[in-house]
Symmetry: C2
Subunit: 101 residues, 2 copies
Amino acid sequence: MNVEQLSATLAAVASPQRMLILTELSAGRVHVSELARRVGMSRALLYMHLAKLEATGFVTTALELSPEGTALKHVSLAPFSLTVDIAVITQAVANAATTHE
Amino acid sequence: MNVEQLSATLAAVASPQRMLILTELSAGRVHVSELARRVGMSRALLYMHLAKLEATGFVTTALELSPEGTALKHVSLAPFSLTVDIAVITQAVANAATTHE
DNA sequence: TGCAGGTGTAAGAATATAGTTACACCTGTC
DNA sequence: GACAGGTGTAACTATATTCTTACACCTGCA
């Protein structure tokens, strides 16, 4: 984990809106339109937040067909636990930003 | 810890520049101008970053007189360890933003 | 007096993030 | 066909964050 990755990961979760999304998902997976209604935001905006959460591994998505035949994009919470202390940070800084891992 | 506080805390540390500052401070306390030289940024910009780190408790500052009589603002790393998982987030979301703690 | 080396901040520019609106397209049902 | 309810995204606006520049003021010293 380099400093750019750690920063992106922490930034993804450091948002009240995205914390609300994660909380809503903790009860179980939900499709995008329903999730948008529950958290009270437009689908377009939710897509932006989901893109950040998915890119950093906090959620996963799966496009599936409903029994009625319409496509539903299900969003699921991915298990995670982050610990941030000075050792983690110095380690991330030590890894060059250009390093793959 | 409510969602606003948790968000501010995570956002404070979710910055490559501020991670570099914390790493530099892990070797010991440094005064502001010296720290600015070491991390390669202007003092004005460093003050902005330090304000965020101090507001969220990652660093402490102390204004002291040097042996030569000039004032030096020493910056010290505060011990910290954050754990972020879904329980921490749901708990923060459950606490109203207007709640004090 | 004139530097050198500090502290502290205001004001504006540049950039990134967040949010809105509107569109195209799909399936099933009345 | 028209409608309800989905997915997906482009383009734009609004706002927040980051960064630069410039200033005022202080102490010690040649």
